[in-house]
């Protein structure tokens, strides 16, 4: 995930989107892209190098039009280019000169969650993290069913993939107002179930609640209104059928399990 990093003072331009790189949108590719972002430095000022540690707007691991027709380029240009960008810019403005500056994004998030008594930077910090996670949750040619360990875990904890899918869709459809639906890994399950479905309001995410996120869908209206208007259930169906990157979810599950092993 994003960490505080030395960077140019301008946000990553839209042209930084990968071009025509083929259908493989796996996790490795997004990591490689993220590393490329860290090569730029802020300009020198009056003879001394002034490097301002702040958060980047990372591009998704696929071109802006790659999720068409399910999630339009138009939507991506606003959702990533305006909303996500604004969270990054506003977060940087909010934390400069405070004790939060220089901390990792996850650290800022957990500190400003403040056990539920939210501090002002929380909304921006968590939304930066949530959107990074959301782009990674999708890929061109996504959808279908998971396989391997992930499928086994889903069948074990939900009964079947279909039952999980129904629960996830229902959580996404019934999150009132703005928010997110998640598949998460519970590192300390009291009932033996490692996986669960959660829904969270506004910017809240499973990390601040003590879980490891595996998959998310953004159900703020800005995520689907241009393409689906009020028809949130249609957006959710298309997300499940055509967009989910089960590769990314599997990779995250593997990491989560190795941490508790």
């Amino acid at each position: 995930m994003a960490t505080a990093t030395a960077t140019t003072s301008s946000a990553v331009p839209a042209t930084a989107f990968l071009r025509r790189q083929g259908a493989n949108g796996g996790a490795n590719r997004s990591l490689r892209w993220a590393r490329n972002q860290h090569q730029r430095w802020s300009p020198r000022r009056s003879g001394a190098a002034v490097i301002t540690a702040k958060f980047d707007l990372k591009p998704p691991p696929y071109p802006q039009d790659a999720l068409e027709p399910h999630m339009s380029q138009n939507t991506m240009s606003f959702h990533w280019g305006k909303h996500h960008r604004a969270y990054v810019d506003n977060l940087n403005k909010q934390i400069v000169g405070t004790e939060l500056q220089g901390k990792s994004l996850e650290d800022v998030m957990i500190r400003t969650y403040n056990k539920g008594d939210l501090l002002p930077p929380f909304n921006n910090a968590a939304q930066v993290w949530n959107h990074d996670f959301f782009w990674d949750s999708m890929k061109p040619g996504g959808g279908g069913k998971p396989s391997g360990e992930l499928l086994k875990a889903i069948e074990r904890d939900f009964g079947s993939f279909e039952k999980f899918s129904e629960e996830f869709r229902s959580a996404a459809a019934t999150q009132f107002g703005s928010g997110w639906a998640w598949l998460v890994f519970n590192p300390r399950p009291s009932d033996g179930k490692e996986l669960l479905v959660l829904k969270t309001p506004n910017a809240v995410n499973p990390l601040v609640l003590g879980y490891t996120a595996l998959l998310t869908i953004d159900v703020w209206e800005h995520a689907y209104y241009l393409d689906y208007q009020n028809r949130r259930p249609d957006y959710i169906s298309i997300f499940m059928e055509k967009l989910v990157s089960w590769d990314a979810v599997s990779a995250k599950l593997e990491v989560a399990k190795s941490r508790v092993a």
Partner: protein, 234 residues
């Protein structure tokens, strides 16, 4: 995205079998049910401040959905109450607040708006105008304050101009999701509510909520707000 042809009919509620005057219908079980109130103007009448496409979706889809779900929740509540099922009654409270609040808030909202030819945007005169100047300094100061609070609201919600009917004081408040203004104070009466859920402006203004807030004042129905104020503060 294809634009559907704008309907000039204000509502299709009459097709549903319920009365189309936005009133209350009593079902055979003696339970009050609600129906979509007509708009007092055509969907396109608030352009360019609010597009006809938004007005039609907002009224026919969003407000209608709150009403449908509110009626369903009330029926379930009626059942739970007659069975004495306390946990079920409590569990239904959030659905009632969400959907009932949505119906209440949107019913007010349609009356808060008027086409320019119908007086939309005309500044308040009389006692409300005076109270605004007295409390906020000027109408412009009130607008700036409401716009700032509306823009800063995180997630979904409303920004309100209300009057405290006990203290006879004007207030500016925000509420989350579909919480009605009364959730911020039992003696608060809404005069003007501005919906800042993304569905209220996104198709036209996209992420630029401040532009929506700037423009909506051109179609705010101050006449209606003045009438309400006059009733609470005669």
């Amino acid at each position: 995205m294809a634009l559907r042809p704008l309907l000039t009919r204000r509502t299709l509620a009459s097709a549903s079998g319920f009365s189309s005057n936005g009133g209350i219908t009593t079902s055979f079980r003696g339970l009050q049910t609600f129906s979509l109130p007509d708009l007092p103007y055509d969907y396109g009448a608030l352009q360019p401040a609010i597009s006809g496409e938004i007005m039609q979706l907002h009224h026919q889809k969003h407000h209608q959905a709150y009403i449908t779900n509110y009626n369903k929740a009330l029926e379930q509540l009626h059942d739970a109450m007659s069975k004495g099922d306390a946990p079920a009654v409590v569990k239904l409270q959030s659905a009632i607040k969400f959907n009932g609040g949505g119906h209440v808030n949107h019913s007010i909202f349609w009356k808060n708006l008027a086409p320019i030819q119908g007086g939309g945007g005309e500044p308040p005169k009389g006692s409300l105008g005076w109270a605004i100047d007295n409390h906020f300094g000027s109408l412009d100061a009130l607008v700036q304050k409401m716009n700032a609070e509306g823009a800063a609201l995180q997630g979904s919600g409303w920004v309100w101009l209300g009057v405290d009917k006990e203290l006879k004081k004007l207030v500016v408040e925000t509420t989350s999701n579909q919480d009605p203004l009364v959730t911020k104070g039992p003696s608060l009466v809404p005069l003007i509510g501005i919906d800042v859920w993304e569905h209220a402006y996104y198709l036209q203004y996209k992420n630029v909520r401040p532009d929506y807030l700037k423009n909506i004042w051109k179609v705010i129905n101050w006449k209606y707000a003045s009438e309400l104020y006059g009733k609470e503060c005669p």
